[in-house]
């Protein structure tokens, strides 16, 4: 597209992309390799193949308890965040009102607040109203942090909708509720599913705020933080690899649902 092409410079630029990708993905790939390695402190040359770390986490009841907490939190957070996010996205799509920028700021700002500060604020507040130290407190906190993502995903889908579609449904005699049920929700369905899975994936990996507020009912990522603080243990890698595979499965499912051909805009 541009006039001057210099193969040397283009080659160097592509090399730079590759180096950035190597930097980003080496720790991720490394964690997979270490999880299947017999060494406690892996170094070069690598030790032998071993599934020991997976066996250890399989037999650890605390890991299982954490896993079920994570699953419970993730499912509740996905439902809550998607409901809240849908409402927010539809409000932004449909209405103009006084104070709308404030409404949007309040809805979308949580991810920009550092997690330690969120964690401290949540802990101080929730313990005041006797809600801290249990699974509900993690769900509340993750609801705050995940709903902006759900809102963004659903808002994106709504912006692909012809705004006249809704008016047409009203002209045909459907009231707002009927139109919502038969026009808006079917149209945004792929985005709703995507939002469910993505918010669940975000909640699955969140450890800092959960660590502050969860008390004894740790989720799996909080457990991992505990392993990291205690003795060195490649169990982290095994848990991380499994969590990564499940997160990626969620994303792939979300992607497939987003591409659902029958609801594609023409």
């Amino acid at each position: 597209m541009t006039g001057n092409r210099n193969p040397l410079i283009n080659g160097l630029l592509k090399l730079h992309i590759t180096l950035c990708l190597i930097f980003i993905f080496t720790p991720i790939a490394g964690s997979f390799v270490f999880s299947l390695n017999s060494d406690r402190f892996p170094s070069l040359p690598l030790g032998s193949f071993s599934t020991e770390w997976y066996r250890l986490i399989w037999e650890d009841p605390l890991v299982w308890a954490g896993f079920f907490n994570t699953l419970l939190v993730g499912a509740c957070v996905a439902a809550i965040a998607t409901l809240l996010g849908f409402g927010g996205a539809y409000t932004d799509f449909r209405y103009k009102f006084f104070g709308k920028p404030v409404y949007l700021a309040l809805a979308l700002l949580p991810p920009t607040i550092p997690v330690v500060i969120m964690g401290l604020a949540m802990l101080a507040f929730l313990s005041r109203v006797s809600l801290s130290g249990n699974v509900i407190s993690v769900i509340i906190a993750h609801g705050v942090m995940c709903s902006p993502f759900a809102m963004a995903i659903i808002r994106l889908r709504l912006s692909q909708m012809d705004p006249d579609l809704e008016a047409a449904a009203w002209n045909l005699g459907g009231n707002e509720w009927v139109t919502m049920r038969h026009v808006i929700i079917p149209f945004t369905k792929p985005a709703i599913y995507a939002a469910l899975f993505i918010t669940m994936a975000v909640s699955f990996d969140e450890f800092a705020v959960a660590w502050f507020v969860s008390g004894l009912n740790e989720t799996l990522p909080v457990k991992v933080l505990g392993f990291l603080q205690g003795q060195v243990s490649p169990r982290i890698n095994a848990i991380g690899s499994l969590a990564f595979v499940s997160s990626i499965s969620f994303i792939v499912i979300a992607q497939i649902l987003m591409r659902n051909p029958e609801s594609k805009p023409s």
Binding site: H16, F41, M122, A141, S147, N237, F244
Partner: protein, 281 residues
């Protein structure tokens, strides 16, 4: 439109508003009140006392940590932006549509991996007898000390921020008018000069915002400075976790947190003002 909000509109707009007011804005506002509370006999009690502010602000440990955190986060924002830019530029200007889409997809993947696991993995790579040093040893170099110092911290920050910064830079570069670039070339403007005088100014807002995100994330992160930087001397976020987890001195942690928020707001406003300032003034 209608002046009185209908039941229908409230059904959809209110739940999010109420949730974020009750569980986001209110807890943050509560931090302000908390910072004036006092602790007696290991019990927090509502009060209006500036003792926490005085105690924290009169400690040199706090100010050391404050300026170290500020320096580390600024260094992180600048270094990561500079590292990311050639990659973003190449992705936006040199790759085909298909390759561009793939690259964006690949750069999103790290967001769904656990940051903790990546940091733990980096420990294995960077430690004194770790993989990187063993590899350098084969080449007859090192060993270098890469863990428990600022290098470790910054490496961790980069793991956290680099994918996001590249993505944000790519999105802003994608909006640069290609005709401008073409025009610059037609007028015999050199490659580097085109980048510096045409592309960067027209993508300025996005580039500054990307750097701002790196700053915000690094400023608030406690994992990298703790597990890769060694945690001693602490950063502000480590201070907050230490104070909170080691007892009932939450009011003091609130002072540190509020100072962080004030700093972040100042930096964010300055950056946004700079980003949207008219070119050439």
């Amino acid at each position: 439109m209608n002046t009185r909000p209908s039941l229908f509109s409230l059904t959809f707009s209110l739940p999010l508003l109420i949730w974020q007011l009750a569980f986001f804005l209110f807890p943050l506002a509560f931090l302000v009140a908390l910072s004036f509370w006092t602790v007696r006999n290991f019990q927090m009690q509502p009060d209006f006392d500036t003792v926490n502010w005085v105690k924290i602000y009169s400690r040199s440990v706090f100010w050391d940590a404050y300026f170290r955190t500020l320096l580390l986060a600024s260094a992180s924002a600048v270094l990561i932006s500079l590292t990311a830019f050639p990659a973003s530029y190449a992705i936006s200007f040199k790759l085909g549509e298909n390759a561009k889409r793939w690259m964006i997809f690949v750069l999103i993947i790290p967001f769904f991996t656990s940051y903790l696991v990546r940091v733990y993995s980096l420990q294995v790579f960077l430690s004194d007898a770790g993989i990187l040093n063993a590899f350098l040893g084969y080449l007859g170099l090192g060993p270098y000390s890469m863990l428990n110092n600022s290098f470790g911290t910054l490496t961790g920050y980069a793991t956290l921020c680099l994918p996001l910064v590249i993505l944000l830079q790519v999105f802003s570069l994608n909006f640069v008018n290609r005709d401008l670039v073409e025009a610059a070339h037609n007028m015999r403007c050199g490659r580097l000069r085109t980048v510096l005088e045409v592309i960067i100014p027209s993508a300025k807002a996005g580039l500054v915002i990307a750097g701002l995100f790196a700053f915000i994330l690094s400023f608030g992160d406690f994992v990298s400075p703790l597990y890769l930087g060694g945690g001693n001397p602490p950063t502000l976020s480590i201070m907050i976790t230490d104070i909170t987890k080691s007892g009932q001195q939450w009011p003091r942690a609130a002072v540190v947190a509020l100072t962080m928020i004030a700093t972040l707001l100042t930096v964010a406003f300055a950056a946004i003002k700079f980003a949207y300032r008219e070119a050439g003034k």
